[in-house]
Symmetry: C2
Subunit: 198 residues, 2 copies
Amino acid sequence: MQELKDLIRSEGKYLGDGILKIDAILNHQMDPNLIKRMGETIADMFRDEKPTRILTAEVSGIAPALMTALALDVPIVYARKHKPVTMYGPIFLETAPSHTKGGETFLMVAAEFLKPGERILIVDDFLASGKTILALCRMVQQAGCELVGVATVVEKIFEGGRDKLERLYGARVESLAPIAYLDNEKIVFDDDPKGIEV
Amino acid sequence: MQELKDLIRSEGKYLGDGILKIDAILNHQMDPNLIKRMGETIADMFRDEKPTRILTAEVSGIAPALMTALALDVPIVYARKHKPVTMYGPIFLETAPSHTKGGETFLMVAAEFLKPGERILIVDDFLASGKTILALCRMVQQAGCELVGVATVVEKIFEGGRDKLERLYGARVESLAPIAYLDNEKIVFDDDPKGIEV
């Protein structure tokens, strides 16, 4: 998605240690029309797989996942990281180490919103080492659903998440801005090996 | 918003202690078209106030706030409750006691996304005692922005948040489903004093 790549080049900031700051685009401030176009682009990629539900994780996955769900006209459920008092009854619980916050993150989805036989498209903001999305995949499997694919806004290919998702779940993985390489001077997208100085 | 009230009556569950569970509608699973209609309804209520930015708080405020921002074609910023490593530079930090999770919640917005002179519409999922939204109002004030109003999806009028927002900030408050009374047998909306057995 060229528009997004251009924005990441102009607004994104590399903080070192593999951390890309795109708070002005996705993780704090958002342009709702851009997020809508992201959702439409993801929907177009996976429409033929006939997903019946979008699964994401709070917090920053919600916006692109909601817009994907809107474009596909299917419900969305977002995994909670902190159990609210309104969550009761059987749940699927997985844990994943958090890259940007440290420690271990819980992911919880009520069983009533992940029923056997559903065709699940996972949508999230970032794919790096894949730990959060792998936890969501384990839930999809436990729930007896079918995983039709994984879509992320930004992918840091060099962190290997895609390989694990393909190998462990046979997942089709698509990302709107796949980053091959990242350093203090350059953000190099996968399909643009020369990169652009930032 | 009649459609929403009907859904709350059919899908909502009163858990006691003032807690209304609408996880099937807003706080866990969502119908993206319903959320879009919520956003459009809120946008219609406040369009004449010419908001330049939507402010909400993660997690459950994001979806209705994003759809409001889409309908108004303005950016949205969501207050973070946990500081991600990508957040640096000056921030506005407020605290609010959490009703559904216990303890104290932090709310953080980077100063770069809340600039003096902006016309802010606060959108959130629930208005109860108003503690979260009052914290957002304090941020708006500190930032030198103008508060054009507060819109919430569900309001529990009997918890008094509206009174505080009006008294302390002169805020115009609108809610899509204002609940006057809630007990094990009934959810009574403000404009329908007879209520409906649930």
